[in-house]
Symmetry: C4
Subunit: 205 residues, 4 copies
């Protein structure tokens, strides 16, 4: 964490931490009585699934934000605003997730899934624009050139992949959601070049 | 970030991050069924607009807070309280925005817009009082004298401009809101002197 | 900020920042129409007063927390738990304030004011216990001995003063609240010894 | 706090701080009038108990998280995800606590207590998996070897103890809750080896 990006990272960490913690406010205690609690708890399983998915997605985005800023050592005005755009995407996540949870079993699952998948198209674009500016605006740590190009390749596939996801919504909602989750797992895994460099770095110490 | 102002900045970042993240709590999932979801989502567009405006305004205020504290290197008791006053303004923002969104199409748009524009008069005054104290209380980094006077000129126009905004409310609500948004964009842009200095600073390193 | 107390301060700043920002959630947009908005906004003045009082009290407590930790340079297990107790008091503040706002004009103002004043007795005790432990547990910066004893004197009057406040509730609710606010202003002002030392410190640099 | 783990700790502190501060949102002002306020406040005692228990549990987990990261000096991708899992457990705590408070006196206390105790089994496992990875992944401060093995012994008893707690639910709900609270107090106390080392460390300075 360089001193120039310290406050941007601290502010972002705050937004990520709050967004991920507010999710539990959507999980309510069922108000039943007379031995029906277990059934009532079981019946609201979509709420738990939505909670876990939102938690995982925001957590994964935090890890990726962390990865980008490991390489960004200078901060300019544009970076601050592009970072705000990305945080906008992060704070929105609970809304499409709750929308999908509420309408998955009803007749509007295509609309809900399109909003859900569409949100990730936008977030993937925001991630790439931020990174593109950092690379081309000379904000990177000079020592990070190699892993930077590896990161660029990795994030570059995001917008197109999520667009495929969005298109798939009108073919098959379950297939589009499965692809969305698969992409999340892909972005959760460490970029090979980075993990390889870290191993080298540790080995040569 | 000097060590003396570190906790003030950390606390402020926390308040900004929470205020900007709580905004999504006002965006609710529509409870309709039977193919009406798309229409219901479209119908609540004022909620999305209010969300985006609040997000942008709090984000811009965070960037400006960041700019001021880039130059403030000492902290005294008065600064802590003036900073609390400014944070009071920041945490209030969602209320006039929601007020305006709820009453823009109804018969009370003048009252709602006057509260909205009036809030920014107060916030602009708080910004200037904080900065005035930092400049005249000797809390600035001595190296920042030149960009400080550039910042003073820039922020000095705030209270009067927002007062014009407020007065315009009784003439034309849309015009007053357009001016308010234009002012936000003006304050979002980097002060020229600062960006010029940064370029110099980088070039001579 | 010493590295040992850094995480305790960061965590505390987070709690203060969240507690102070959540307050706005209790201020609601009135749902009236047809030109009655101004009157409806005016009618909910107790909500604004409660919001401002809570904001001021939490802000003042943050400033005082900041003052204590300016002198605390070591951290032990007991300090962490006493700090948690103090934060417990901080997070509770919105409840008695809302209680007082809701019941001040009704027949239960004595009960509401007693809960309100009683909360500050407890918080004042928590502040003193934390500080007592820091002083007697050898956690202070050795250079802070003189201002530490000045702080001890100042905070020492807290519990007794707030007990007087609490007792006064059954005599006169307005008088007890006036004393409570006067005490808040007293604790908001900088201890003279400290400000004197700071001036010296700056002058001799 | 090493620079590598700084952002993980800052993010975690944010989540802990928010989770512990959101608890007050579940404590509501009773809407009674005509001298019934005191009785109404007394009647909602389970809400206060649930608030205090959640506050204590999250506070104790924060202290333990702090203890672990005192010894962790390097950060890898797996650590970030295991830490997210632990934070998942932390943010969930208010839900089982509110569940238990709402259903303790009704006919569903066994189900509610089983969910409550079961949550702590899961959290205890998450704590151990995180620590196991830190120890075996070579992420610890080399100087921390001795106190690390003391921590391992201490946390190792967690999952089994909480499983006993869970099993006890079907025998006696009060006994299972008493054991749960006893375990919380056990984990709140400082590990002897660590406090012994700290004393040494201070004495030899």
């Amino acid at each position: 964490m360089s001193s120039e990006t310290a406050r941007v990272e601290a502010f972002s960490d705050g937004v990520f931490a709050i967004a991920i913690t507010l999710l539990i406010l959507d999980v309510h205690v069922p108000s039943v009585s007379g031995g029906h609690l277990a059934a009532a708890l079981a019946r609201q399983w979509p709420t738990y699934v939505a909670f876990l998915i939102s938690f995982a997605f925001i957590g994964i985005m935090w890890v990726n934000h962390h990865r980008l800023f490991n390489h960004i050592h200078r901060c300019d005005n544009t970076l601050m605003f592009l970072n705000l755009l990305l945080l906008l995407g992060v704070t929105i996540v609970p809304f499409p997730t709750a929308l999908l949870a509420a309408h998955y079993s009803a007749g509007d699952r295509v609309v809900a899934a399109a909003v859900f998948n569409g949100t990730y198209v936008v977030i993937a674009i925001f991630f790439n624009v931020l990174w593109y500016h950092a690379v081309n605006g000379g904000l990177l740590d000079p020592a990070a050139a190699e892993s930077a190009s590896s990161i660029s390749r990795r994030y570059g596939v995001g917008p197109v992949s999520y667009l495929v996801c969005l298109g798939l919504t009108w073919v098959s909602v379950p297939a589009s959601l499965a692809l969305n989750i698969a992409l999340a797992i892909f972005f959760a895994m460490p970029p090979k070049a980075i993990s390889w460099e870290k191993t080298m770095h540790t080995a040569t110490k």
